[in-house]
């Protein structure tokens, strides 16, 4: 049995790179969030640590690490620690199937900038996303606090409800593209048009559901501080609290990358095949294009948070079940009819 050491090395470098970039982006998303909030509220925002407050995330992280660690009495210690760890692990797992770029050719080897191009990429993401709720549920329950328990129950029912509409909106996209591999979906958009042109309603539903899945305002009912004193992470302190907050930003980053890949062409950009540049340069430019798209989405996430107030819980459920799911079903039906019509004519 020969082991392809170059292959293993390539994957290890890629995995570490993607993880490092996810963490870096999540770190600077916290800075971005504060700056966006301050601009929207006509303030200055963090400006003490470093130029324009750019060292603020480091200061925050350092503070969280050195805070006193408190584990509430009568709580299940193992589950209490497992909660934030799961939230963080699950958030980091999704990045494996996202194509961060096309292929690079290094010293005769072709390196794909995707950790795993499996033929069920989208289902993998669904599998991981559906596990995301465990971190919140276990943490909330193990805190041994009524508010935390309420929050974890809210989070569980919210995430399960919006997963349905999210899946249904994706089915329409899958019927159109005919593949479950994200890489292939991006390649199709490279030669055809972006999927947002053909699936505007599907994208809108997917976007709203991503807000709900990431627990972002206006869907952050699980941490509604005015009702639940902070919700599922009420009893958490120190870096365990940091993990929960950080996982939210990683989730935002990954879902931005996913939306860019599925609906906005991923790493492809207009005229990329007619520039006449070397393939490696085009790949690097493509990755840069993907990151620009991701940053736009991240800004959108923040913009919405500081603009739209939180829903009431019954409104949230009604939106999910009575509006999003029927709309997604209608979108699926229309897409199916068009696909059938085009395949017979």
């Amino acid at each position: 049995m020969t082991i392809d050491w170059f292959f293993i090395l390539e994957k290890i470098v890629l995995i570490s790179g993607v993880l490092a970039v996810s963490l870096l982006v999540a770190m600077y998303s916290t800075w971005g969030e504060r700056k966006v909030a301050s601009i929207i509220q006509d303030r200055i925002g963090p400006n003490r640590a470093g130029f324009m407050g750019l060292l603020q995330p480091l200061a925050d992280g350092g503070k969280l690490f050195f805070k006193e660690e408190i584990i509430p009495g009568n709580s299940n210690r193992f589950l209490f620690i497992l909660g934030p760890s799961l939230a963080m692990i699950v958030a980091c797992m999704t990045s494996a199937v996202i194509p961060w770029g096309d292929t690079l050719t290094i010293a005769g080897h072709t390196v794909s900038l995707q950790i795993a191009d499996i033929n069920i990429g989208i289902l993998y993401i669904f599998g991981v996303v559906s596990l995301g709720v465990y971190g919140i549920m276990l943490g909330g329950w193990a805190s041994n606090n009524k508010y935390s328990l309420l929050a974890s129950v809210r989070a569980a029912s919210q995430i399960i409800s919006y997963e349905l509409a999210m899946g249904l909106s994706l089915i329409a996209l899958l019927m159109m593209t005919g593949t479950l591999s994200i890489k292939e979906i991006v390649e199709q958009q490279r030669h055809g048009g972006w999927n947002i042109l053909y699936q505007p309603l599907g994208f809108l539903i997917f976007l709203v559901c991503s807000f709900a899945e990431c627990n972002r305002t206006p869907f952050d009912l699980a941490e509604a501080e005015s009702e639940l004193n902070g919700g599922y992470h009420l009893e958490y302190s120190s870096m365990k609290l940091g993990f929960y907050l950080f996982a939210e930003y990683i989730n935002m980053f990954i879902s931005s990358a996913l939306m860019s890949s599925l609906y906005f062409g991923g790493y492809s950009f207009p005229f990329m095949d007619s520039l006449g540049l070397s393939p490696n340069l085009v790949t690097i430019l493509g990755t840069a294009a993907l990151f620009i798209k991701i940053i736009c989405f991240l800004f959108f996430f923040m913009w919405v948070r500081w603009t739209i107030p939180r829903f009431r819980y019954d409104q949230l459920m009604r939106l999910g079940w009575n509006i999003m799911i029927p709309l997604a079903l209608a979108n699926m039906l229309i897409t199916g009819a068009i696909v059938l019509y085009r395949s017979t004519h």
């Binding site: 299940n76 069920i120 599998g127 559906s130 596990l131 549920m137 276990l138 129950v153």
Partner: protein
């Protein structure tokens, strides 16, 4: 080294799945039981991947670990079951459980003793890949597939009626 990589992975997966399955029935805390069951589901999904049935593996995770076990956990958390407040079971119930479990084991042993087991080469079949599975389901087995969807529909109607009772 007489073992291939696949055999090593198979051995590790099997050991974890047996240990976690034992954890489900042996642990006193119901939340731990649920967590052990989730680990068991993951190892079974791993077995599916070894058999080249990736679609089955992912759907197994989405449906069982991602949805059904969340509801289990939901119910257990709301009932707040603990070993302290659990009512003491009567002795005859324990004996009845042990006897019926042993009887089931005998039946299974009797049934499986004569069964001839054809070894499956891992990765030999491509039926578990999603496009092949879809084509088989919608050509060869389209009627059973549609009939089972009616079963789901009736379950959904039942859920809606139960939910609407108070309104």
């Amino acid at each position: 080294m007489g073992m291939s990589l696949q055999q090593i992975v198979f051995g590790v997966l099997s050991i974890i799945s047996i240990i976690s399955a034992l954890g489900v029935i042996l642990s006193k805390n119901p939340v731990t039981s649920v967590l052990c069951l989730i680990v068991t589901f993951f190892t079974i999904a791993g077995h599916y991947i070894m058999l080249n049935a990736q679609f089955l593996a992912v759907v197994h995770i989405i449906v069982y670990a991602g949805a059904i076990m969340v509801l289990f956990l939901f119910v257990i958390m709301l009932m707040n079951l603990n070993s302290e407040i659990e009512p003491q079971k009567r002795n005859w119930l324990k004996y009845a459980g042990a006897i019926s479990g042993g009887a089931l084991l005998l039946v299974l042993l009797g049934a499986l003793r004569e069964a001839d087991v054809t070894p499956i080469q891992p990765g030999a079949s491509d039926i578990g890949l999603i496009s092949n599975l879809g084509k088989t389901l919608f050509n060869q087995y389209v009627v059973p597939f549609e009939v089972s969807s009616i079963l789901f529909l009736s379950a959904m109607v039942g859920a809606v009626i139960i939910g609407k009772r108070e309104a």
